[in-house]
């Protein structure tokens, strides 16, 4: 449903969309049922058709059972929604997966008033070495590769949001928050700041550029500080 309007470009986007669709089906059913009954009652019992109301206290068995049953069913539906939501939450936020037993790539995402900056590990795949690549407003990653991110903020709260990944995480000054993503298709997409951060909040656009391994290697080579220094 969401994918029809906005592409899904991460491994868990489909799972998040599934929760949304499940909730949509369940609450849609209840909503249309309730509203249908609601309008039917207004129509059926308008004053011209039923000039005198009936005296019902709500203690009669017949009408009471509709309410009792309905609220039991609501509870059952809640269980399904909780089940789906908790599973996806666990997958996306709670558990940091590892890449085939090895270490995943780690990127740093640093937010500040009002820009994003990113630290890529460079060709050696390790952060805090001489070939780290810093960039502003552009995050370059490889498709089909697991990434962990380390999100931090220099001043106020920001929120790292990549709509095509269905990913969002607030950044808190003084803390490093870890999370993960794995892109499933190449392209260049929006990164937004989703937490108001002052007058420049609207001026914090950034792009996430998802590349094939070859393109990514070329980008790394073209931006490597050691190579740039040698040139």
């Amino acid at each position: 449903m969401i994918e029809y309007w906005l592409q899904a470009a991460s491994t868990y986007a489909g799972d998040i969309d599934f929760v949304i669709e499940l909730v949509a089906v369940i609450v849609g059913f209840w909503f249309f049922l309730t509203v249908g009954i609601f309008f039917w009652l207004i129509f059926a019992h308008r004053v011209s058709r039923s000039p005198r109301a009936e005296y019902l206290t709500g203690d009669e068995e017949q009408p009471k059972k509709f309410i009792t049953w309905a609220h039991m069913l609501v509870l059952v539906c809640d269980v399904f929604i909780v089940w789906a939501a908790v599973q996806v939450w666990y997958e996306v936020k709670q558990e940091l997966p590892l890449e085939n037993g090895g270490q995943p790539q780690v990127v740093r995402v640093i937010s500040q008033q009002w820009a994003w900056s990113f630290v890529h590990p460079g060709a050696d795949g390790v952060l805090d070495t001489a070939d780290d690549i810093r960039s502003v407003d552009e995050l370059h990653i490889e498709v089909n590769r697991l990434y962990h991110y380390e999100l931090s903020s220099k001043d106020v709260l920001h929120s790292f949001s990549v709509p095509v990944f269905r990913l969002k995480q607030d950044a808190i000054p003084g803390r490093v928050i870890r999370g993960w993503f794995e892109a499933t298709q190449t392209g260049s997409y929006d990164i937004q700041c989703a937490e108001i951060c002052g007058i420049g909040h609207a001026l914090m656009p950034a792009r996430i550029v998802i590349e094939t391994p070859e393109q990514h290697a070329a980008w790394l080579a073209g931006h490597s500080p050691t190579q740039l220094a040698a040139r």
């Binding site: 909730v23 007058i199 609207a202």
Partner: protein, 580 residues
């Protein structure tokens, strides 16, 4: 209660003040204070509506000069959305629904002459008025009004260098804190009056639902506001004294504020929701001529909702960086709330069953409340489910969701209450035809404002951004029925303009009805609760003779009676009782 001095007689206690100032500005009469709250609330609603107009115009036509406002700069935009939210919740929904209706209705409906603490009641309004002045003053100080969203998350709100509105932030905070003081003072009166000053014969289960709702709302407010007042003092010290409770640079923790804020913030939703639900209950019973279906069930579901509402606050913080495991607990508690709320909706709808429904203006507002609030309720499930909230959090989906709860509460609930009790408040009937024009002119544009915003949120549009031009994914063409995303924004704005224009009809209606409307009489709706026993408008001291209550609040269409209503004040075997 005063100590054991001999109770003054009814006559002696209530001589109406002669002086105009004492009568209207310095009064302790609950009805006058209710009017003061109502007028202030409506005035603030006009300001909040004007803010909405200014920032919606900026969103639809970025960079264009807004007629009547001028250019909306980024800092203006932030200040407008922040104060729109703050005003609509704290200076419109609270004073009108809780304070104005609470003040007007509780003494009349429980059958007493005034609040238990009339002077505290007067003080409550005075503090409230001061708080409104402080808030509006924040627009005229150096740096301008606060623009860090109504949730005021630090460090943005705590540090002047980040927000660039050091004075505005402090005035905002002081105004909100004063407003809390006002409602604590008011709430004391609502609770004590409803519990201690009921007319003889009125048992707890004979109290009209709307009174119960306002009392429970006051209790919720009292229990939840403490942490936020503590938080407000800490934030104030961060701003002005140089402490670092919420600023990590000085060893504090910004998440602490979020917990304090939302521990109050979520029950606050129910604080304003309950009075609106109560007003709707009265309307549905009166205009479907039905006894409220399962009075006690409603009460129990409200108690359950109230208790649960204290356990769900962190669903606002799923992605804020709290421990991910907490999300599971708060997803479960949040979804549990759907059970009592759904049951309440079912009970309201069941009340319509086999009724005799008249669709006049108050009834239209009451039914619209249920319908629109249902939309708000079911869309909330998406946000309470942690997995789905990862995507929807802070998008326009959230915004549309809570406007589908707060608009029915603050606007529909208010119009429902005003159209129902206008005859009692002013002694004149409102014009029904103009009322219906106003109703449809409000409801249809309202849906046209916020349904597009649901789609924009689903498409990934985030909140509090004054211009989307930098986000290519948010400027796409042809997303819905051939409309682009900017077209949807324009549609929402145009609908807002139409809705605002139709509000003029309401004020014209009030003016014409006050001037030429037919006299209302005591009980124009043939209703059963005690306020309809008094003359319209009720005189100082309310009842000529304090009433006695003989039965529950909703005895409509009793089979033993010829008339289809049986007022609470009519003796069992009195004239026209029809029984025995």
């Amino acid at each position: 209660m005063p100590e054991s001095a001999p109770a003054p007689t009814h006559e002696a206690a209530h001589h109406e003040p002669e002086n105009w100032v004492l009568k209207y500005l310095w009064s302790t009469d609950h009805k006058v204070i209710a009017m003061q709250y109502l007028v202030t609330g409506v005035f603030m609603a006009l300001i909040g509506g004007f803010f909405a107009y200014a920032f919606r115009m900026q969103l639809a036509f970025p960079g264009a000069e807004v007629p009547g406002y001028g250019l909306v700069s980024p800092s203006d935009y932030n200040a407008l959305v922040t104060n729109h939210g703050t005003i609509m919740i704290f200076w419109v929904a609270m004073p009108v629904l809780v304070a104005a209706f609470g003040n007007f209705l509780i003494p009349l409906m429980v059958g007493c002459d005034d609040m238990v603490f009339p002077k505290i009641n007067r003080l409550s309004f005075q503090v409230f008025f001061l708080s409104a002045v402080v808030l509006l003053a924040s627009f005229f100080v150096e740096g301008g009004a606060f623009g860090g969203a109504w949730t005021a998350y630090p460090p943005l709100s705590a540090v002047g260098e980040y927000s660039l509105t050091p004075l505005g932030s402090t005035l905002w905070l002081v105004a909100v804190a004063l407003e809390f003081v006002a409602f604590l003072l008011g709430g004391i009166n609502f609770i004590t009056t409803a519990m201690n000053s009921r007319a003889p014969g009125m048992r707890l289960y004979d109290i009209p639902i709307v009174v119960w709702m306002i009392v429970i709302a006051s209790v919720l407010f009292m229990l939840s506001v403490g942490p936020l007042i503590a938080g407000a003092i800490m934030l104030f010290m961060d701003q002005q004294v140089g402490t670092g409770f919420f600023d990590p640079a000085r060893g504090g923790d910004p998440i602490l504020w979020q917990h304090l804020f939302w521990f109050f913030g979520h029950p606050e939703v129910y604080v304003v929701l309950l009075p609106a639900l109560g007003i709707t209950a009265e309307i549905i019973c009166i205009f479907s001529r039905k006894k409220l279906f399962a009075y006690r069930t409603i009460l129990y579901t409200v108690f359950a909702t109230g208790i649960l509402s204290f356990t769900v606050w962190a669903h606002h913080q799923f992605i804020a960086g709290i421990d991910p495991r907490m999300a599971h607990i708060f997803t479960i508690t949040t979804l549990l709330i759907s059970v009592p709320i759904a049951e309440m909706c079912f009970v309201y709808i069941a009340t319509l069953y086999k009724g005799s429904i008249t669709l006049n203006t108050p009834m239209l507002w009451g039914l619209a409340f249920i319908f629109e609030f249902l939309i708000g309720g079911v869309t909330g499930i998406f946000l309470g489910a942690s997995g789905a909230d990862i995507y929807f959090h802070d998008t326009y989906f959230v915004l549309a969701h809570f406007h589908y709860t707060f608009f029915p509460i603050a606007i529909i609930g208010t119009y429902a209450g005003i159209t129902l009790w206008f005859p009692k408040m002013f002694g004149k009937m409102l014009n029904d035809r103009l009322g219906k024009i106003h109703f449809w002119g409000t409801i249809i544009p309202f849906n046209l404002i916020f349904i597009p915003l649901f789609f924009l949120g689903g498409l990934g549009q985030h909140r509090r951004i004054y211009d989307y031009v930098h986000f290519p994914e948010l400027m796409r063409e042809n997303v819905l029925f051939g409309l682009g995303m900017q077209d949807l924004r324009v549609l929402a704005t145009v609908s807002l303009l139409v809705m605002l224009a139709f509000q003029v009809v309401f004020f014209v209606n009030v003016y014409l009805s006050l001037k030429n409307g037919p006299r209302a009489g005591r009980n124009p709706w043939k209703a059963t609760t005690l306020e309809w026993l008094t003359p319209s408008p009720p005189p100082h001291g309310n009842f000529a003779e304090l009433p006695t209550v003989y039965r529950g609040a909703y005895e409509y269409s009793h089979p033993d009676r010829q008339e289809d209503y049986w007022p609470q004040w009519e003796p069992e075997f009195g004239p026209g009782a029809g029984r025995g």
